[in-house]
């Protein structure tokens, strides 16, 4: 069994290489297709033609596109994502600084979301058509129906501006706290490692509103998928067989039905994770969260090629890794899906 599994994992990893190559090419083409001339932009307010030309040469943008691509790829091979023009730092450093902020927010939001959505979905599926089912539906649907930036602003308005119970929406930590020593970049973890309860609580407080905003938005896909697949599972033959075999309802529901319903839920979770990490840029903007999404948007707006490419590549790596795990869980859960056919 083990060598076979190892082989499938290796196969699966080798399959993600074309994806990464695709991402590299597409992101290169996409950035070059953006309107706007970074040389002009970064040459500054009062630059004349000479200084624009100088900047263009500095950026290597005076070379032909294929040449630029070769330079980019050879830099990539050496692990160099290039230098962001707007921050003036290596892109890797920018990402390392900002990724944990986004990941922390997204993970907290998803944990929150899962802990509400999955029980809700199961509850709804076990009593289809009841008022609980309808209520769940209405609740989660209402959550996903609001644009995140709108929810965020409304939450700030109510809980910070009107009621004054939320901390000021000033990013990851109010300025009165001391930033924990960087170990992982996740403030909650770093503060816990440092044993600094006060800072931990400070960071947690800042996380509450943005993660609720994101969680509200991600409730629906998870709850709906849980409900849908639970329903399918509960109405399938093997459950009927199990019932007729006299197994208790609880064990049927949670051991057999839920386990079988898990496959689509995990797919959805993966999708939601990737979607959220990419989409929480809007939330980051509202809460002044120094994450990776706002970084990407700013880079995109000013045509900061290296930063956009670096961001896309980092997200792609993350996504590919995540996908790999999902696929492997697939095989564990539903052996009908094999890799042989791929």
């Amino acid at each position: 069994m083990m060598p076979g599994r190892l082989k499938t994992i290796l196969l699966r990893i080798s399959q993600s290489i074309p994806v990464l190559i695709g991402v590299v090419i597409v992101s290169f083409v996409l950035t070059r297709a953006l309107p706007g001339d970074p040389a002009v932009y970064f040459a500054g307010a009062a630059a004349d033609e000479n200084s624009i030309a100088e900047v263009r040469a500095q950026l290597g943008l005076d070379k032909s596109l294929p040449e630029q691509f070769l330079v980019y790829v050879s830099d990539l091979m050496r692990g160099n994502l290039g230098q962001s023009l707007s921050t003036g730092q290596p892109v890797t450093q920018d990402l390392a600084q900002r990724l944990p902020a986004s990941l922390e927010l997204t993970l907290i939001a998803l944990i929150l979301s899962c802990s509400i959505a999955i029980p809700l979905g199961i509850l709804a599926a076990t009593r289809p058509g009841s008022w609980i089912d309808h209520l769940c539906r209405v609740l989660v649907t209402a959550g996903v129906s609001m644009p995140t930036f709108f929810t965020g602003i409304v939450l700030i308005y109510i809980f910070y501006y009107l009621l004054g119970i939320a901390p000021s929406p000033l990013g990851r930590l109010d300025f009165i706290y001391i930033e924990p020593d960087r170990v992982t970049g996740f403030y909650l973890i770093d503060a816990a490692i440092a044993g600094d309860l006060e800072t931990w609580w400070g960071a947690a407080k800042q996380l509450i509103l943005p993660s609720i905003t994101l969680a509200l938005f991600t409730l629906a896909p998870l709850a709906r998928m849980t409900r849908a697949s639970m329903l399918s599972a509960l109405s399938s033959d093997f459950i009927r067989t199990a019932r007729s075999a006299g197994l208790t309802e609880g064990s049927i529901r949670y051991t057999y039905a839920f386990r079988n319903a898990l496959l689509p839920v995990i797919t959805t979770l993966g999708m939601v994770f990737s979607f959220t990490l990419g989409a929480n840029v809007l939330v980051e903007k509202v809460f002044a969260w120094p994450g990776i999404g706002s970084y990407a948007v700013e880079a995109l707006v000013v045509s900061d090629y290296a930063a956009v490419q670096g961001f896309v590549l980092a997200m792609a790596l993350l996504f590919v890794g995540l996908n790999l795990i999902i696929d492997l869980t697939y095989t564990a859960i539903d052996p009908r899906i094999g890799f042989a056919s791929r």
Binding site: Q15, S16, P18, V19, G22, V23, V26, L30, T31, L34, P35, G129, H134, R137, V138, T141, A142, V144, S145, M146, P147, F149, F150, I153, V154, Y157, Y161, A220, P221, R224, A228, D237, F238, A242, Y256, N260, T267, S274, F275, L277, G278, A279, V281, L282, G293, A296, V297, L300, V301, V308, F311, V312, M315, A316, V320, N323, R336, I337, S341, R342
Partner: protein
């Protein structure tokens, strides 16, 4: 792990599409609606949306594009039900007029991704082999992108017009459909009923289209219902970044995005009403999707 495998690897799982009997559909419709009043409400809400989309321009009390600075930023009143915006335009008229455009964007984008995604996914799942590998890598590549940023990039590169917003939204959704269909088709392509249909002399395409593919519809419907909402929200997000449709065109997303800056200063109606309209539409689509699922799900019909 073993008990688990033996319980699910049961090859006799009945993925059988029940033959449609004449008249059964409407009976079933009534049956479903009776059992699920929310779906009935959703149909009603959908009707309101469609009416607003078709007759909006006739119903609007004011011209949505005409400004009147002397009445800027007025709170809701009998003259202006939803108040006026910073240019003195009637928010109610703008919200109403925007229905058509927003429905158009979401439906067009979802239809496009549904059709393309289904075809590609079915091909990949049914025939497998190198075609499957290539398509899979393609979907993976798109999905590996942070989707919202990809949509932003596409719109930024192509220019911010309605069509480009539709294309961008469609592109980022294609893999979702394709993978779903692929997974469903892949599981069922060697199932008994598919083989039987094939042995009965049906061509591959026929088996795929009429016997296997319909099994993918229930999960697809859930996806569609979510996607119609996502499509509108996606457009709204693009507007928030500034990549929305051109002013002075009324569009919910832009109105919420622009109105959001007025909430703290007390002019809540600018964002709240288009926000509610947006919510109403997404809500409708989602409830409807659920209802449709019950309707098309063969298991509920037995």
């Amino acid at each position: 792990m073993t008990d688990f495998i033996s319980s699910t690897a049961n090859p006799t799982e009945p993925d059988v599409l029940v033959e449609r009997t004449s008249g059964g559909f409407f009976d079933h419709l009534i049956y479903v609606l009776r059992g699920n009043p929310i779906t009935l409400i959703a149909f009603g809400m959908f009707a309101i949306l469609v009416i607003a989309a078709i007759f909006g321009p006739l119903l609007a009390p004011y011209d949505p594009a005409v400004s009147n600075v002397s009445i800027a930023l007025q709170a809701p009143s009998w003259q202006h039900w939803f108040g006026t915006d910073n240019l003195g335009r009637d928010v109610f008229s703008r919200v109403l007029i925007a229905t058509r455009l927003d429905l158009l964007i979401s439906v067009a984008a979802v239809a496009l991704s549904f059709v393309i995604g289904s075809m590609l996914g079915a091909i990949a799942g049914y025939w497998g082999g190198w075609l499957d590998s290539i398509l899979n890598r393609l979907f993976d590549t798109i999905m590996a992108f942070p989707l919202f940023v990809l949509a932003m990039g596409i719109v930024a590169a192509l220019g911010n017009t309605v069509e480009n917003i539709v294309y961008a939204t469609a592109v980022i959704n294609i893999p979702f459909y394709a993978r779903l269909v692929r997974a469903e088709v892949n599981i069922r392509r060697d199932a008994g009923f598919a083989l039987a249909a094939k042995l009965a002399g049906n061509s591959d395409i026929r088996v795929l289209a009429f016997h296997i593919y319909p099994n993918a519809l229930p999960p697809m419907m859930v996806q569609v219902s979510l996607n119609l909402g996502w499509a509108i929200l996606n457009a709204a997000g693009l507007s928030f970044i500034g990549l929305g449709v051109r002013p002075p065109t009324a569009e919910w997303g832009i109105m919420v995005a622009e109105g959001a800056n007025f909430i703290v200063s007390g002019e809540w109606w600018l964002a709240v009403f288009p926000g509610l309209a947006l919510m109403f539409a997404v809500f409708t689509f989602n409830l409807l999707g659920d209802g449709l699922r019950d309707l098309v799900d063969p298991r509920r019909r037995t």
